[in-house]
Amino acid sequence: MAAAIIEEISEFLQKGRAKNVKKLVEEALAQGIDAQEILNEGLLSGMMIVGGKFKRNEVFVPEVLVAARAMNAGVAILEPHLVAAGNEPMGKAVIGTVKGDLHDIGKNLVAMMMKAAGFEVYDLGVDVEAETFVEKAEEVGADVIGMSALLTTTMPNMQSVIDALNAKGVREKYIVMIGGAPVTESFKEQIGADYYTADATSAAEVAKAAVEAKKA
C-alpha cells in the first residue's frame, strides 16, 4: 500500500503537478508513512528521475522547473515532521553566480538538483563577492561551495574565491565545484577547484558522492 502512494507522488512530481503532489503527501502522512520515506522515495527520487532525463536532453528547463516546484510544495508539508524527527540533511552547499555575472538559470537548477540530492542549499544569488562565498560557507559550516560563471570575463572571479579561501587558510575544508557555459575541466585544473560538471544533475551526483567520501 505504502509503495503505491509513494510511486504516485513521484509520478505526479515528474509531471510537475504540484497540487496533486501536495494532496498525496498529506494523504501519505495521514496513512502514517514516515516523512523521511515520503521525502526520499517519493519527492527526491522523483526529482532525480527528472534530473536524469534533463542530463540526457530528454526533457528541458521548463520540465525541470515545474518538477522542482512540485517537489518544493511537497517538502513544505513534510518540513515540520522532518524537523520534529531531527532529520539531518546529507550535507550543506553554498552556491552562487560569481561577481559581475547575472546569469542564474543554470545556477538555480544546480540549487534545485542539490536539494533533490538531499543537500541543505544556501543560494547567494548573482553577482556574488568572493568574500561573501567564504563568509557564508564558514557561517553555516558548508561542505560544498558551488560557483557559476557564464562569461569569459567573470570566470577569473572563480579564482578570486579560491584565493580568498586560501588566504583564510580554509580551502581544504570545502569541496569547491564550478560550472557554467564557458567553464571546462582544464579551467578547473588551472584554478585549483575540485570538480567541474557540465550539467546540474551531474553536479548534484558528484557533490553527493564527494561529501559521502569525505565523511566516510
Binding site: G16, N57, V59, F60, V61, P62, E63, L65, V66, R69, L102, H103, D104, I105, G106, N108, V126, L151, T152, T153, A181, P182, A198, D199
Partner: protein, 350 residues
C-alpha cells in the same frame, strides 16, 4: 564585388570574391580599446575603420522610461528599465497572472509615440551607400515574455498555463510588428537586412524542448520574417547557444541567415551545419568568443577564418560567435579576423 553584392551572393549561396564579415555590436566596455587600436573616436568611425561589410543601425526609441526598443516594457513598474539590470529571471509584473484579465492593468507602450521617423531616416543615411545597411531590431518576443513573468515563471507557464503565456506574447508581437512597420516605412529603399531573434540555446542543447520552440517561438518568428520579406529585407535570425535541433524550423519559417553559430555549443560545429543545411540557409558567425578570440593569438584566429572559408566557400558571413564583443577580446584578434576574411579569392588551410 562591393559589400552589398557580396552579401546578396552569400544569402543566395552564389560565388563570392571573399566572404562578407560583420563586426557585431561590441559591448560598451569593449569599445575604448577598439577605438584606441583603430585610432578612431566613435562607433561610427570604428564600423568604417575595421572594413566591415555591414553598417548596423538600431531603431531609435525614446519613451519616458526607456531609450532602447529592446527595453521598451516597464515590467517591474518602477520606471527603471535599464538594460544592465534586466536579468529575465527577476519576477516581472505578470508573475502572479493567471487569467487574461490579470494583464489588464498594464500600460502597453505605443511605438508610434516613441519612434521618431526622422531619426530613423537620419540613422540609415549615416550608412555608406556601398555597405549593407542592417537593422539590428531584435523583436525578442520570447525574451520579453520571459521577463514579463520572470523567466522561470514564464517557462513553467508554458507547461501549466500556456494561454496566459500566449496572451502576453501576442501583445508583445503586436508592439514589435507595429514598431517595425514604422521603421521599415521610414527607411524604405535604404535598409537591406534585419537582425531579429531570441536566445533559446544553452551550451548543451536547447533551453526549452524543440516542441515548445515550435509552439511558442516559431509562429512569432514567421510573422516577423513575413513582414521583413514584404519590404524586401533579408532576415538574419539570432539565437545564442545550441539550436541545432530547431534549425529546420527556422528554415521553414523563412529565415535567410542563422546567427551566430556559437561554435563551442553542442551540435554547432560549422562543418556539420554546412553538411546538413548548407544548401538551404546561410550563416553568420562562427569565430568562437568563448575561448579562441579571448585566449588565442592573431595567428590562431587567422587559421580559424581560413578553416571557415574552406568549409563555406559561400553562405557564411564571418563574424564573432557573439555580437557583443566583450572587453577580454584583444583588438589584434578582431583585426586578424577581418584581415583574413578580406583576403581575396579561395583560401586553403595551408
Amino acid at each position: 564585388m562591393n559589400s552589398i553584392e557580396r552579401f546578396y551572393a552569400t544569402v543566395n549561396r552564389e560565388p563570392v570574391d571573399r566572404p562578407a564579415a560583420w563586426l557585431g555590436m561590441p559591448d560598451i566596455h569593449a569599445q575604448p580599446a577598439l577605438f584606441a587600436h583603430y585610432g578612431v573616436k566613435d562607433f561610427h568611425e570604428l564600423k568604417l575603420a575595421v572594413g566591415d561589410d555591414f553598417y548596423a543601425v538600431e531603431i531609435p526609441y525614446q519613451s519616458p522610461n526607456s531609450s532602447a526598443i529592446y527595453a521598451a516594457f516597464d515590467w517591474y513598474m518602477d520606471g527603471n528599465v535599464d538594460a544592465e539590470e534586466r536579468t529575465l529571471t527577476t519576477p516581472g509584473c505578470f508573475a502572479e497572472a493567471e487569467e487574461p484579465e490579470d494583464l489588464e492593468f498594464f500600460e502597453w507602450p505605443d511605438p508610434a509615440k516613441y519612434i521618431d521617423v526622422e531619426e530613423c531616416r537620419r540613422r540609415v543615411e549615416m550608412a555608406p551607400k556601398d555597405k549593407v545597411c542592417l537593422g539590428v531590431i531584435w523583436s525578442a518576443h520570447f525574451q520579453d515574455t520571459c521577463a514579463s513573468f520572470g523567466m522561470e515563471n514564464a517557462l513553467m507557464n508554458m507547461i501549466a498555463n500556456p494561454e496566459i503565456y500566449e496572451a502576453v506574447d501576442a501583445k508583445i508581437m503586436e508592439f514589435y510588428l507595429k514598431a517595425n512597420e514604422i521603421f521599415y516605412e521610414a527607411t524604405k529603399g535604404r535598409l537591406n537586412a534585419v537582425l531579429i531573434g531570441n536566445d533559446m540555446g544553452s551550451q548543451r542543447g536547447l533551453i526549452l524542448s524543440p516542441d515548445m520552440v515550435r509552439r511558442f517561438i516559431i509562429p512569432g518568428c514567421k510573422k516577423l520574417v513575413e513582414q521583413a520579406h514584404s519590404y524586401g529585407l533579408k532576415v538574419i535570425y539570432h539565437s545564442c547557444g545550441s539550436i541545432a535541433d530547431v534549425i529546420p524550423d527556422l528554415i521553414e519559417a523563412g529565415v535567410d541567415i542563422i546567427h551566430p553559430i556559437q561554435a563551442l555549443a553542442a551540435g554547432m560545429e560549422p562543418k556539420g551545419l554546412k553538411e546538413k543545411y548548407g544548401d538551404q540557409v546561410s550563416f553568420c558567425g562562427g569565430v568562437d568568443t568563448q575561448d579562441l578570440l579571448v585566449n588565442g593569438s592573431p595567428e590562431d584566429v587567422r587559421l580559424k577564418v581560413r578553416e571557415l572559408r574552406s568549409i563555406f566557400p559561400t553562405g557564411l558571413i564571418i563574424s564573432p560567435s557573439h555580437e557583443a564583443i566583450l572587453p577580454d577580446i584583444p583588438p589584434q584578434n578582431i583585426e586578424a579576423l577581418f584581415d583574413e576574411a578580406q583576403k581575396p579569392g579561395k583560401t586553403s588551410l595551408v
